[in-house]
């Protein structure tokens, strides 16, 4: 959790920039290592998000094989309580019945939570290990990458469109655009306003998660810099305890933040899909 490589690498700004740069392959800018066009891939984001998805699949597969009905084990109890919690949220907010919503909500909750959880791993640990393998840039938290959060929210948006058209029909959905905020006299403005409102749903979903996680990661980096930027000597006696206390405090607070963000993403998905499947707006 030290910033030693930052101070040797040329200052705090470089340290932060280095940590906030993805491992980009494909069409990337050679200087900034940022994606230069659509045809670039953030390899670290893809790797960590797929690895965490694989973790969910493997753990639930193993648990599914060893289910006990009489005396469930501690872990089974824990998973059942998460399942109950998500199912309760779906029952409370989703009108009617739909076999897709509860599994979708559970997947979103677990996956987003695990991706957010990568934030709690010491910021320098995995990039340092990767640098031994010759990987220069590594951003370990997939949800601090706008690509991940917007991909998830656009998937939800596609489902919103699908269910809107399925329940209301193409004409019924079109009618919603015509008469929604201001009545029948200003139809062009209504169309634009409703389009903006619909477009704002995926935008707010994706940007909220990205913003919260990015800011959290940045605070971890700044705390890590406290120790790294101090000179070796007497000052460390003051600075190192400060860093430890601040890091612990932010870590504990951040457990709340990552859970809350995963929860909000899940609940808003349920709410939006619930709005899409009710016929009267």
């Amino acid at each position: 959790m030290s910033a030693s490589e930052g101070s040797s690498g040329g200052g705090t700004v470089e340290y932060i920039q280095h940590h906030l740069t993805n491992l980009c392959v494909g069409d990337c800018d050679p200087v900034t290592h940022k994606a230069a066009s659509f045809w670039a891939l953030h390899l670290d984001t893809v790797f960590f998000s797929y690895a965490l998805a694989a973790l969910i699949i493997i753990v639930s597969w193993r648990l599914g094989r060893s289910l006990q009905t009489d005396v469930p084990s501690g872990f089974q109890n824990f998973v059942e309580s998460i399942l109950d919690f998500v199912a309760q949220q779906v029952r409370d907010t989703f009108p009617g019945k739909n076999p897709l919503i509860a599994p979708l909500a559970l997947t979103i909750f677990l996956w987003v939570w695990l991706m957010n959880f990568m934030d709690l791993i010491p910021v320098d640990l995995l990039p340092l290990l990767a640098s031994f393998l010759g990987i220069g840039y590594l951003k370990v938290v997939p949800t601090t990458d706008l690509s991940t959060t917007m991909a998830m929210s656009l998937t939800v948006f596609a489902l919103i469109l699908y269910y809107n058209i399925k329940t209301k029909g193409l004409i019924g959905y079109g009618k919603m655009f015509l008469f929604h905020p201001f009545g029948k006299f200003v139809i062009p403005i209504n169309i634009v306003m409703t389009a903006i409102e619909e477009l704002a749903k995926p935008l707010s979903l994706g940007l909220r998660l990205f913003g919260n996680m990015f800011a959290g990661e940045l605070v971890f980096l700044l705390i890590a810099l406290i120790g790294g930027s101090a000179a070796i000597g007497f000052g460390l006696l003051l600075v190192v305890p400060l860093q430890v206390v601040l890091d612990l405090a932010w870590l504990i607070f951040h457990i709340l933040v990552i859970t809350l963000q995963a929860f909000i993403f899940m609940v808003l998905t349920i709410v939006y899909l619930g709005m899409a499947t009710t016929s009267d707006h």
Binding site: D92, V192, A195, I196, E197, L199, A200, S204, L207
Partner: protein, 68 residues
């Protein structure tokens, strides 16, 4: 229960809904402008509508959450 849960959860997102509606307005305007080569017209008018709609939506959510 459903009526009591939904508005509370929607209220969490009032702030982001306001900002993202403004953003959505400008984005939509930018897209329409690049489609028809009329650069500032739709960007500004849709942006204004986004600001208006965002404020309206936030006001509606805060004063009458049942309706949303």
């Amino acid at each position: 229960m459903a009526g009591a849960e939904k508005p509370n959860l929607m209220l969490i997102s009032v702030g982001t809904i306001l900002t993202s509606m403004i953003l959505a307005g400008f984005l939509l305007g930018f897209f329409v402008d690049s489609l028809f080569q009329t650069t500032p017209i739709f960007l500004l008018s849709f942006g204004f509508l986004g600001i208006l709609g965002g404020i309206l939506k936030a006001y509606k959510l805060l004063t009458d959450p049942e309706l949303n």
